[in-house]
């Protein structure tokens, strides 16, 4: 029994309790900007944590790296610069908002462990380019790890649960953790590659049921160059379609994603598939809402769904909001911050908008 307990330790992850340096995600900022703002707000205002949002960091260049236009040595030096900025700011715990970046940070740190001469070369590169010096973080987490760590505190403050108010039953939630979270270096992920718990833990803590469907761990299909180049996008859409076909019999109420890229693709490819094949997933041809964990935490805590940005997903979330019993204002949906009515977006032909 003791031995079995020790085996389980390999799947545990230490997550720092406070004092974080935050690095943003290109895709999360561009497609789900409110998610990053909400994450900072919930950590500071709801949980009373110290987190530093440094304007001086840049892209990690990760999308370029996995699309092979940025060399490994270059991305290592860019990441080293982020570590230097963290050191200069007096922090030792880093939170990374992107799964692609997170995978890259883990790859880089493991490379430096296996090849110390590479670490020295990167120190030289960074000093030569910027006169900066860096330390490797004491604790490295993806931002979902932090929400996972504080999932029970969020549950205690919850205004809404992942319970269908019409039936009293838990909502059926698909979770998608994103390949680069723990397929490369399982020890950095909560539950590793085999028992990833980072999203499932949130879903359970907030009252939902996790759907275990055949293609649960299949890639969303981003594929970097397979999406970035228009000629290749069939690869990307085909992979998302494989997942939606596989989850369809389980009647998911929502898809919860870890990676901002996966969130975007699983949302947008539902539109593309509906245009290409006339096939719309979800009840009443409305699609299956795809949310970031920040957005879901925000709904649970009772934040206005339109301040969280749910109206700017291609698949609209009203069916989910109604199931959760959330009291939302339809009139507020497409208004500016100061309350001025904005134009209405065009309705897709094959999705009930």
């Amino acid at each position: 029994m003791e031995e079995k307990r020790n085996i389980w330790k390999d799947y545990q992850k230490e997550i720092a309790d406070d004092h974080y340096y935050y690095v943003r995600s290109c895709i999360r900022q561009s497609f789900f900007p409110a998610s990053e703002e909400f994450f900072l707000k919930v950590l500071k205002d709801e949980l009373g944590k110290d987190i530093f949002d440094d304007p001086n960091h840049t892209t990690c260049t990760g999308i370029g790296y996995h699309a092979d236009v940025v060399p490994f040595e270059t991305i290592m030096t860019v990441v080293a610069r982020h570590f230097a900025l963290m050191k200069e700011s007096g922090y030792k715990n880093i939170i990374i908002s992107c799964v692609t970046s997170f995978g890259i940070y883990t790859e880089i740190i493991e490379t430096w462990k296996h090849f110390p001469e590479v670490l020295e070369k990167i120190r030289e590169n960074l000093y030569k380019a910027t006169k900066r010096e860096f330390d490797i973080p004491l604790n490295m987490t993806h931002s979902s790890d932090i929400i996972y760590k504080f999932r029970n505190e969020i549950a205690e403050k919850a205004n809404y649960k992942l319970i269908n108010q019409l039936t009293g039953r838990p909502l059926n939630v698909v979770e998608h953790i994103g390949c680069h979270y723990s397929k490369m270096f399982p020890k950095y992920g909560v539950g590793g590659a085999e028992f990833p718990l980072v999203l499932a833990g949130m879903i359970k803590a907030w009252g939902g049921d996790v759907i275990d469907y055949p293609e649960r761990r299949h890639c969303c299909g981003f594929g970097f160059r397979q999406y970035l180049v228009q000629a290749n996008r069939g690869y990307s859409a085909a992979n998302s379609k494989k997942k939606f076909e596989s989850m369809e019999p389980y009647k998911p109420d929502l898809v919860l994603c870890n990676c901002p890229g996966c969130t975007m693709f699983m949302d947008k490819w539902q539109y593309t598939i509906s245009e290409l094949e006339g096939k719309t997933y979800g009840e009443n041809n409305q699609g299956v809402p795809v949310l970031t964990y920040e957005e879901l935490a925000g709904l649970v805590l009772g934040y206005n769904p339109w301040d969280l940005g749910l109206q700017f997903h291609q698949i609209q979330s009203e069916p989910l909001l109604r199931k959760m019993g959330i009291d939302f204002s339809p009139e507020d949906k497409y208004k500016t911050r100061s309350g001025i009515q904005m134009p209405m977006p065009e309705c897709p032909a094959n999705i009930n908008f």
Binding site: Q29, G221, G234, F312, Q314
Partner: protein, 237 residues
């Protein structure tokens, strides 16, 4: 050993990604690209570990190495701890360094990625900022993406972003001093060299193909061709 194998060995990802393959094929079984394309990561590893220079050169000039989607599922499952996707990255690096990439339809697409994501990085400090992912080049993003782009100021303000303004926040303007540091990092670490290689070999290929090529931007025949052309010879169907 041969020149190409030596070049591969200089890449730590190659050293880390290939120990000794026993040809079990688990990587191919788990691979999303193998399901979609005429692609078999097991064969790539098998070819590379022969150390046969002619075969490795043929691989570097082929469509094959560009099919991998970098999901890294192969790393989790290989019983020998190999990572075919990392070996593919090393093959792609050498292919670009030597100009072999322009021999294949999929390899030539590197030019489109350099002119979009590659240039976004140094121009904006982001890989894919909202305003650079245009609906014209991304119709699959749907009507909501067109709406966001048409109303970007109002949308970003509503969502608490700091669009193209100084200071912290989502979609903030990256200060020029930070972009300058990024540029110097590219200079000392080989980033600019790779961009220059992609440009140089692509210009040569455009000339060979009799296509218009411009030194900047996406408004030229060669860019449009590599970004959109699909011969239809790649997938399994």
């Amino acid at each position: 050993m041969g020149k190409l194998y030596d070049l591969l060995l200089q890449d730590v990802r190659f050293k880390e990604g290939l120990n000794a393959c026993m040809n079990c094929g688990v990587c191919t079984a788990i691979c999303p690209a193998a399901e979609f394309y005429k692609y078999d990561p097991r064969e790539i590893i098998d070819t590379v570990q022969t150390k046969d220079e002619a075969k490795i050169e043929a691989l570097m000039r082929s469509e094959t190495i560009w099919y991998c989607g970098q999901c890294m599922s192969c790393k989790t499952r290989c019983p020998r701890g190999n990572t075919p996707a990392m070996v593919v990255m090393a093959l792609r690096s050498v292919s670009q360094k030597l100009g072999y990439f322009t021999d294949s339809e999929k390899g030539r697409q590197q030019f489109a990625i350099k002119r979009t994501v590659g240039e976004n990085i140094l121009k904006y400090g982001y890989c894919v900022p909202t305003y650079a992912v245009t609906p014209e080049m991304h119709p699959e993003q749907g009507p909501i993406w067109s709406y966001i782009n048409e109303n970007i100021e109002e949308v970003m303000e509503r969502l608490g972003a700091n669009l193209r303004k100084p200071g912290p926040g989502s979609m903030r303007e990256i200060h020029q001093s930070n972009l300058d540091e990024l540029d110097r990092i590219f200079e000392v670490s080989g980033g600019h060299n790779l961009y220059n290689d992609i440009e140089r070999f692509s210009e040569k290929k455009a000339d060979e193909m009799g296509m218009e090529f411009k030194k900047e931007g996406t408004d030229n025949e060669y860019f449009r061709h590599v970004y959109t052309f699909n011969s239809g010879n790649h997938s399994r169907e």
